[in-house]
Symmetry: C2
DNA sequence: GTTTTTACTTGATTTATGAAAGGATAGAAT
DNA sequence: ATTCTATCCTTTCATAAATCAAGTAAAAAC
C-alpha cells in the first residue's frame, strides 16, 4: 500500500510542506507530475490529512504551555466535555487516555493568571494534575 | 509588531500551509505579492518556523500513541537524556516539565511489544508513569 | 498470450512566483 | 502647511511551476 517512495515523500513534506512538487520530485527521483500524483493519492487515502505551519507560540503571545491530566469524579463526563468544548481558545489537544486520569489536555495561555482562571473553571467539573512545560524539543 | 492581518495569515496557513500566496492574499484582502512579503517577514522574525504535514500515524503503522511521565531518581539526568537521544525513532516530543515528574515524552510505537521494550530500556535510567492515548482531538 | 491496470514521462497550456518600479499613506522634521 | 522619509501596497513582466491530456512501458490479471 505504502512503498518506500511514499514514506520518503511524507518525510520530505514533514520537513517542508511548502516545497514545490518539482523539488519534491527531485528528492525522490520522480518528475514533479509523478510526485504530485503520489501526494494526491496519499491525500485521498487519508494518510496526509493536511498541511500546517509551525508557529513559535511565544512570539504570538502564548508564553504558557501546560499539560493537564484530568480526573473526572462524577459518573458522567458530559459536564467536563462540554466545558472543554467552550475552551477551544486554550485547548490545543484533547486526549482520552488510559493510565492515571481519564483525559489529558494540552493547553496554551498568555499568562499564569489566565491558566489560573482556566483551572478554577475546570475544577467545577473535574480534578486535575498540572504539568507546566519549561522546555521542549521535537524531533 | 504583529497586526490582525498577520494573525489571520497564520490562522489560514495553520489550516492549509500549501495554499498559494494568491489564495492567501484573497483570504486576507491583499495581493498575492503583498501576502508573500508578509509571510517572508514572519519567517525572518521566527514567528513562522516551518511548514509541515499532518500525517495519520495509524495509517503508516504507528498504532500506539503514548505519553510517558518520567521521574529520574538519580541526581544526574544525563544517562536518561542520553537514552532519549538514542530513541528519536519513537520520541516525537520531549518536554521538561514542572509538576509531577521531571520530563514528559510523547511517543509512537508500532505495537505494544515495542512500547514494552521501550519501557524496559527506559526503566534502566528512570521511573515512569504511562498514559496511552485512546482517542484524540485537536482543534 | 492478450488484455488490463498501474505508474510514470512528455509536451502544451494555464497559473503562480519573484523582481523591479511606482503610488498611496502616515508620521516626523522644518 | 510642506517636505521628507519610511512603510506598505499594487502593477507589470519575465520566469518557473502546476495542471491537463496523451502516450509509453512494465507488471498483473485472465
Amino acid at each position: 500500500m505504502l512503498d518506500h517512495t511514499d514514506l520518503k515523500i511524507i518525510q520530505e513534506l514533514t520537513h517542508n510542506s511548502r516545497m514545490t512538487m518539482k523539488e519534491l520530485g527531485d528528492k525522490v527521483h520522480l518528475t514533479g507530475q509523478a510526485a504530485a500524483t503520489r501526494v494526491a493519492k496519499l491525500e485521498e487515502q487519508g494518510v496526509v490529512e493536511g498541511y500546517t505551519v509551525k508557529v513559535n507560540k511565544k512570539k504570538i503571545g502564548y508564553a504558557v504551555h501546560a499539560f493537564i491530566t484530568v480526573m473526572t469524579q462524577s459518573t458522567s463526563h458530559h459536564p467536563y466535555l462540554n466545558f472543554v468544548e467552550t475552551q477551544t481558545k486554550h485547548v490545543e489537544n484533547h486526549y482520552k487516555i488510559s493510565g492515571e486520569g481519564c483525559y489529558m489536555l494540552e493547553c496554551r495561555f498568555v499568562s499564569h493568571e489566565q491558566l489560573d482562571q482556566f483551572l478554577v473553571d475546570l475544577n467545577r467539573h473535574a480534578n486535575y494534575k498540572l504539568s507546566i512545560v519549561i522546555n521542549h524539543q521535537s524531533k
